[in-house]
Subunit: 69 residues, 6 copies
Amino acid sequence: MKLSARNQIKGKILEVKKGATTAHVRVEIAPGQVITASITNEAVDELGLKSGSAAIVVIKASDVMIGVE
Amino acid sequence: MKLSARNQIKGKILEVKKGATTAHVRVEIAPGQVITASITNEAVDELGLKSGSAAIVVIKASDVMIGVE
Amino acid sequence: MKLSARNQIKGKILEVKKGATTAHVRVEIAPGQVITASITNEAVDELGLKSGSAAIVVIKASDVMIGVE
Amino acid sequence: MKLSARNQIKGKILEVKKGATTAHVRVEIAPGQVITASITNEAVDELGLKSGSAAIVVIKASDVMIGVE
Amino acid sequence: MKLSARNQIKGKILEVKKGATTAHVRVEIAPGQVITASITNEAVDELGLKSGSAAIVVIKASDVMIGVE
Amino acid sequence: MKLSARNQIKGKILEVKKGATTAHVRVEIAPGQVITASITNEAVDELGLKSGSAAIVVIKASDVMIGVE
């Protein structure tokens, strides 16, 4: 599937932490740069996500904010 | 301000493209890795965003999906 | 790519309406049931979206609300 | 209340699964087509959501992505 | 319709500014406190939104972040 | 950090309720007006959020809907 989401970044899963219904998945997309995703436990099981696996981080452009210091 | 959003990544603005009310801002967060944000024109003006400036990409964890190939 | 998003529904594009930066795409997912997506013009061009094409509507579970009458 | 959200689809609740703070609600919107919502436990209790009840799935257009195969 | 969204705040519309496809609606929810919504032009027309009208701002809890100074 | 998000409202935390991975934080932004945020437990710990503290509610304009009665 090709997706309309503007942001699709390859990385490696560092950690998968399941909660009661919601899991947090940490993906390293560049040395020292980690993106955290909050997804359903179901999705973790279905995709077989686990530490060390390759993964793609997907983010819709309308969900991205910009900050300046 | 410190923010609850799990994902706050420093980068450099590559391009700011304004539309009628909505602008697209492309930020390079690592060599060759670019994140696109869709924000209001107002925010672009207020923060003075322009190509070449430093910027921080901010994304809430619940807006991040994971894909696998 | 397999995606964590819980909601991936096949349909047929009824209409693509481009704005200055943002396009609205209407997809029929069942007879008389239409879902509208607001995505970037860039994504429309890149995926070659046009009226009559097959498409998959993708929605993260955390973006779905429930109403009752 | 009439709502700006472009997507408001009637269906029937198939399952309500509560977690510690977050619940997953599965709604059938057409034969064999199910949409999953991730909402607060509080909302489940307040609206009295349960399997078999009628419900409306509500999704903002800016939260919908498009995929093509 | 009763809605699962945790945040439903009554206010008065201060301004409606339409773009090519996307409109910005500013709603005063308390003296001096204004919330901006980015919605489709279609929704503005369908709901008859205009400056001075009563309106309810609706926000899903998973779309709210917290900051501290 | 200055942020592109259009909605940044100061308030006082009324309650912090942690779940397994996700916490709900209720912030009073005006007398009797409360906004609920669903954020990660990690963010609660990192920002030291607790009942009685000052906090800023942050919401992207594209995540706000409008309702009318």
